[in-house]
């Protein structure tokens, strides 16, 4: 079995598990909805000025709902020692990293897509024609967050403070990625012609590549005793 087939097999298993149990999806969705509604009412007095806060509010929603999803990502592998079962498969351990990361990306991206649409509607953002671009920026952010989150989620698996530790460990690492994401989102919302979107997105792609490569290289050392 090729590396890619094993990665896809693991990712599909995670997505199916999530669709069946809806453990992370439901929590992420409710959290995102609450945050968006809170921001909507919080900024409603500002009228058109609320747009200035939209990128920050949007990325706070993406980032923290992703934390909920990531904290569940390895919880399913913790029960009955399933992670050890995966590590016993005759593959390089990067398969487990990539499969879990892909599965987490799918779940987080699904919820973030719904959150993005709700956000655009509630904040009345004039970005309908560029919604796909906003979605792409969100996806770039989600890939990086999932990649860092997968490594730290594996590290914190089995610790009592997992839920608390995960954001504390992940957020400092993904901070530059989130900042890039917010800047690009702000420019798309402002409809700044050409306004550095390419550079920002390139920065995000580079970050994703670096974070994913580091994740793949370090994962073996994280999971093997």
């Amino acid at each position: 079995m090729s590396w890619l087939s094993a990665v896809l097999c693991l990712a599909v298993k995670d997505v199916r598990h999530e669709l069946r149990t809806r453990e992370a999806l439901a929590s992420m969705f409710v959290f995102s909805l609450l945050v968006i509604v809170l921001f909507h009412f919080g900024f409603s007095d500002l009228g058109a000025g609320a747009t200035a806060f939209a990128p920050g509010a949007l990325w706070v929603t993406f980032t923290f709902s992703a934390m909920i999803g990531l904290s569940r990502s390895f919880a399913v592998e913790e029960l009955n020692g399933c992670l050890r079962g995966l590590l016993l498969c005759p593959h390089d351990r990067s398969v487990v990293f990539a499969g879990k990361m892909l599965g987490a990306t799918a779940s987080i991206a699904a919820v973030s897509t719904v959150a993005l649409v709700l956000f655009v509607i509630l904040f009345n953002l004039p970005v309908l024609s560029q919604l796909w671009l906003l979605w792409l920026v969100m996806l770039l952010g989600v890939v990086g967050i999932a990649s860092v989150g997968t490594v730290f989620s594996a590290i914190t698996t089995g610790t009592r403070m997992r839920q608390t530790l995960l954001p504390v460990l992940v957020l400092p690492v993904i901070l530059p990625l989130v900042v890039f994401g917010m800047q690009v989102t702000a420019r798309i919302i402002d409809s700044t012609p050409g306004g550095g979107i390419g550079g920002g997105m390139l920065g995000m792609v580079l970050f994703d590549v670096i974070l994913t490569t580091v994740g793949m290289l370090t994962f073996e050392h994280v999971v093997v005793e």
Partner: protein, 248 residues
């Protein structure tokens, strides 16, 4: 044929430290092809650590370990292809059925398996593939008893037809019926010529299935004998001495 290949499992001067704690200390052990070696030892003796090292879940600090001639450090993927592990943990997803778990595991091992083959495998470990029976495999693993879960775990362990089977405290949490079924399965595996290394602290069940017996205490191998050459009473005394030594 080299010496390493004649022994399906060979550990040479194996040491594993966790910080200042020494879990395995200069352990040398060889298990011949087709032999069933039962490794006894009290809690904390290093039995699970040895299984983890042999199955590439843990890296030895010093020394070498070979499985069918493949080094656990440098040929880890090959070792994982050769070994099947049955532990007190089932490695099964509770939200999935037994068949779904086996299908997923088969794919991850690169094994093509049909529905009929999965049913046959479940049947071979005493699980009925059809719903309604007392050992039905139709429900999700989360709804199964410990004994049934362990049978599915055994099917999972055998799925890729491993040459070497490592059983880490397989009787843990099983009731007498479950233990008896597992013992029957172990006998079947012995007859099929597979090499087995079983760790347990339950003397009676361990002695029943062993070709060779060994005692591990404080990470050191302190006793080793052919089962046919040792009387049960003598072995019990030997084990009691080893446990007493470990708890002093």
């Amino acid at each position: 044929m080299s010496d390493a290949v004649r022994h399906a499992i060979e550990a040479r001067n194996l040491t594993r430290r966790f910080g200042r704690h020494v879990a395995l200390c200069d352990l040398t052990l060889a298990v011949g092809e087709g032999r069933c070696t039962v490794l006894f030892g009290p809690n904390g003796a290093g039995k699970t650590t040895l299984i983890k090292v042999l199955s590439t879940l843990a890296v030895p600090t010093e020394g070498t370990a070979l499985v069918c001639g493949a080094d656990v450090r440098t040929q880890a993927v090959e070792v994982r292809r050769l070994v099947g592990v049955l532990s007190h943990e089932s490695f099964l997803y509770e939200s999935m059925t037994a068949a779904e778990n086996l299908r997923f595991c088969a794919r991850m091992h690169g094994v093509r398996i049909s529905r009929e083959e999965i049913d046959a495998l479940l049947d071979s470990v005493g699980m009925l593939a059809k719903p309604g029976g007392p050992a039905s495999a139709a429900g999700s693993v989360g709804t199964m008893s410990r004994g049934m879960t362990q049978r599915v775990a055994l099917a999972r362990c055998l799925l890729h037809d491993p040459k070497v089977i490592l059983l880490d405290e397989p009787y843990s949490g099983l009731d007498p019926d479950g233990a008896e079924i597992l013992t029957r399965q172990i006998h079947k595996l012995r007859e099929s010529g597979r090499t087995m290394l079983i760790t347990t602290h339950q003397l009676s069940v361990g002695l029943e299935v062993a070709d060779d017996v060994a005692i591990l205490s404080r990470g050191r191998l302190c006793y080793r004998a052919d089962r046919n050459e040792v009387r049960t009473g003598d072995f019990r005394q030997e084990y009691a001495r080893a446990v007493a030594g470990a708890t002093v």
